[in-house]
Amino acid sequence: MLRHYLTMTIAVLKRRPFYTAISLFGISFTLLVLMVVTAMADHALAPMAPESRQDRMLGVVSARMFGPDNAWSSNGGYMLFDKHARNLPGVEELTIFSSWQTVSTYLGDQRITSNIKRTDGAFWRVFDFTFLEGSPYSQADVDEARFVAVLTRATREKLFSGQPALGKTFEADGQTFRVVGVVENVPDIRIVPYADFYVPTTTSKSDAYKREIMGGFIAVALARTTDDLPKIREEFNARLTRITLPDKSYTTLVAPFETKYDTIARESPFADRQSPDRQGPKLTLLLVILALLFVTLPTVNLVNVNISRILERASEIGVRKAFGAPMRTLVAQFVVENVFLTLLGGALGLVLSAFVLRALNQSGFIAHSAFTINARVFAYAVLLAIGFGLISGVYPAWRMARLRPVEALKGGPSR
């Protein structure tokens, strides 16, 4: 039966190349946009080096204090994590590191701007960086405040023209560091581990950060198993309620351990930033609404084109109805035809989106990005195409099936 439908579909599509072309154009463009967005989201959110163990990770990226008249939003402070986030149940490893800061290096007349992260030793055990040269610095290096640094490949390119950099020194923000390792680039949409080079926390120009509750630091906990994640979140939230805040004008501190998606959701519009609860579901709802808004126009367009095509085939439908084809068969036939068409358009969109993504990667629009169509994105693309095919096929199919045989044979409905 399905084979029969498909043969029919191809025959119909070939008969009116103009309609087929405009349908395919609309479908492939719509799916192209959705696929590019999906591939970008996948690149930002899916587990991959250096966050391969992301499914066991929870992080505190933002911290907020609220009072009756005041709100203060920033990162957490070093002391908040050092004093209160250690020894959480189920945590295999906790790392505390700075959010990135911009620093300048001068090579003769040339200025090189880099994003720098100051980290502890555990950072290198929680995140699995790929080392091209050397190795990470250890906790001992951090404790002794040694001026050592791990560069990314792109930074080695800029500072040492791509030559092996191990043991060489460079200056940044008036401090001199010795290179102990070089790692593969991290795209800057991987906001948590991204930086151009990494140095020990203790190389900060002043140690005032050690006494801060708010400002400049991120903590990431690697749980033993995924089952430990809720426990970690709850325990830290409970500990936060017991902290006496240094500033009396604030009464609550919201800094929950969250997955990456929930962290991003917390910054999105409509999120309840005062609540330590997960904000992910709200963002999902928002994204679904936006996607539906975006596909409204393409759907209406495709429905209109489809109805035109049906009316054109009115006499065929009339004959089939006159010979007793049930409504169900006709609806199924048309929906299958439409899904087949959207899958075809989807395939076209997929090929086009590969080109668009490559252009995006080369434009440097997002630093060090490597957007690709992987198996996961492909699966989403197929789902999107089928969904779009169903949405835009059902109404025209219903219209078609309702045609009365006599009218249909006459060449379409009078009204």
């Binding site: 946009v33 120009k205 002043s206 500033d247 126009l297 393409p298 084109v305």
Partner: protein, 417 residues
């Protein structure tokens, strides 16, 4: 004739409703892009109020200071030391031969840090404005045209009321047509103030600047109020950066020299130099990038609609060839048949545009923040432009199919299968 047309459209209401919805959606998409684009170009034609030629900004980073509410004495002492260091930095910068003028500031043009504030006037009106706090010479660094009065100077040291600079828009809002220079802003002071709050002080206007559109030429003009930043007194305001204007001919190689000189004065502070040119580009792309992405998407959507509508009209013309043939046989000219197809298109577009105007007409009634409110003229122009564009688009879609209808000889049309 019109009634007849409407009846013809009504007879095919289901399909025409879907077409009208499609045209309505296209109108909304076009409207959004045109509104944003038009608003940017209107804003870009207004005065900026400063000139960033040869200006650099040195972002000053310092270690966190003790919390004032936790340990007041320590916080005060640390603040005094910071101010002293800042003064030394400013003196060091001014002594460098490559620097023409230098000033301290809270924020500067094209920098992301901005401060919005508001004041309540004695007559109960509330005015929101963009706030900044700058040292003497700031207006000279940015060659800011001063409409009336003067910039900040040492004359203001002993003033009883806080000296402020305001822009023309704020001056007009507060003082109307009266000369604002030397006047105190008629603020309503809160009588039930808590003792912990900072004392409320009078603000006296010392000068009126043309404007200070911190976020660049695409941003909405808004009221601006600038306070005087002082490093020699307590509560003189927090400086975040030093802005400098270089002597002509100074190259980028001066940058490391400057940073090393400043670093000598404050070893545990950080300095981040950016050229205004670079900051400007980045700020402008914050506005232009989203618009470009939106415009590209809208362009493709409209191309899709154009093709789709053409296909649909074509199909319906072919389906109605017999009807047209009959009209031709009864003596109607090819032109009048063509006119009928185009007029049907125009009537549907009119319905769609009316619905669209009704929808977007709700926007001005939404409680939007003041800097998002788009002036009525721009709003009306955007509606008119997008309506015109939609008429052009739908009529273009009807052009070829209607020609087909008009060209077909009546005899052939009547027996067309």
């Amino acid at each position: 004739m019109t009634r007849h047309l409407v009846r013809l459209i009504w007879n095919r209401k289901r399909q025409n409703l879907l077409l009208t919805i499609e045209i309505l959606c296209s109108f909304l998409v076009l409207f959004v892009v045109i509104l944003i684009g038009l608003n940017f170009s209107v804003n870009a034609s207004k005065t900026l109020g400063f000139d960033t030629d040869r200006v650099w900004s040195v972002d000053v980073g310092r270690p966190p200071s003790p919390n004032a509410r936790a340990d007041e004495a320590a916080a005060k002492a640390a603040e005094a030391r910071e101010r002293e260091t800042f003064q030394r930095l400013l003196v060091a910068a001014r002594e460098l031969p490559q620097i023409e003028i230098a000033a301290v500031a809270f924020t500067a043009p094209y920098i992301n840090a901005s401060w919005e504030s508001g004041l309540e006037l004695a007559d109960g009106r509330k005015i929101d404005y963009l706030y900044n706090r700058v040292g003497d010479d700031f207006t000279r660094v940015f060659s800011m045209p001063i409409e009336a009065g003067r910039g900040f100077s040492r004359e203001d040291d002993a003033a009883a009321a806080d000296p402020v600079l305001i822009n023309v828009e704020l001056a007009r809002k507060v003082f109307g047509n009266a000369n604002p220079v030397g006047q105190v802003i008629p603020q309503k002071f809160d009588k039930a103030q808590k003792p912990a709050d900072p004392p409320q002080r009078k603000k006296r206007v010392v000068g009126v600047i043309e404007d200070f559109r911190q976020h660049g030429k695409y941003s909405m003009p808004q009221p601006v109020l600038i306070d005087r930043l002082r490093l020699d007194v307590e509560d003189g305001g927090r400086a975040e950066r030093i802005v400098i204007r270089l002597k002509p001919g100074t190259t980028a190689s001066f940058e490391p020299v400057l940073v090393r000189r400043l670093q000598r004065e404050a070893a545990d502070w950080s300095f981040e130099v950016s050229t205004m040119e670079h900051l400007k580009e980045r700020k402008h792309s914050d506005y232009i990038m989203p618009l470009t992405v939106l415009a590209i998407l809208a362009g493709f959507l409209l191309l899709m609609v154009t093709l789709g509508l053409t296909g649909v009209v074509w199909q319906s013309v072919i389906q109605r060839l017999r009807e047209f043939g009959l009209r031709r046989a009864a003596g109607a000219s090819g032109r009048s048949v063509r006119g009928q197809v185009m007029a049907e298109m125009a009537v549907m577009t009119t319905f769609a545009v009316l619905a669209g105007v009704l929808l977007v007409g709700q926007l001005p009634f939404l409680p939007l923040p003041e800097d998002l409110v788009i002036p009525g003229g721009v709003f009306a122009a955007a509606i008119a432009l997008s309506a015109a564009a939609i008429y052009c688009l739908t009529l273009a879609c009807g052009w070829y199919p209607s020609r087909l209808a008009a060209r077909m000889p009546p005899a052939e049309a009547l027996r067309y299968e």
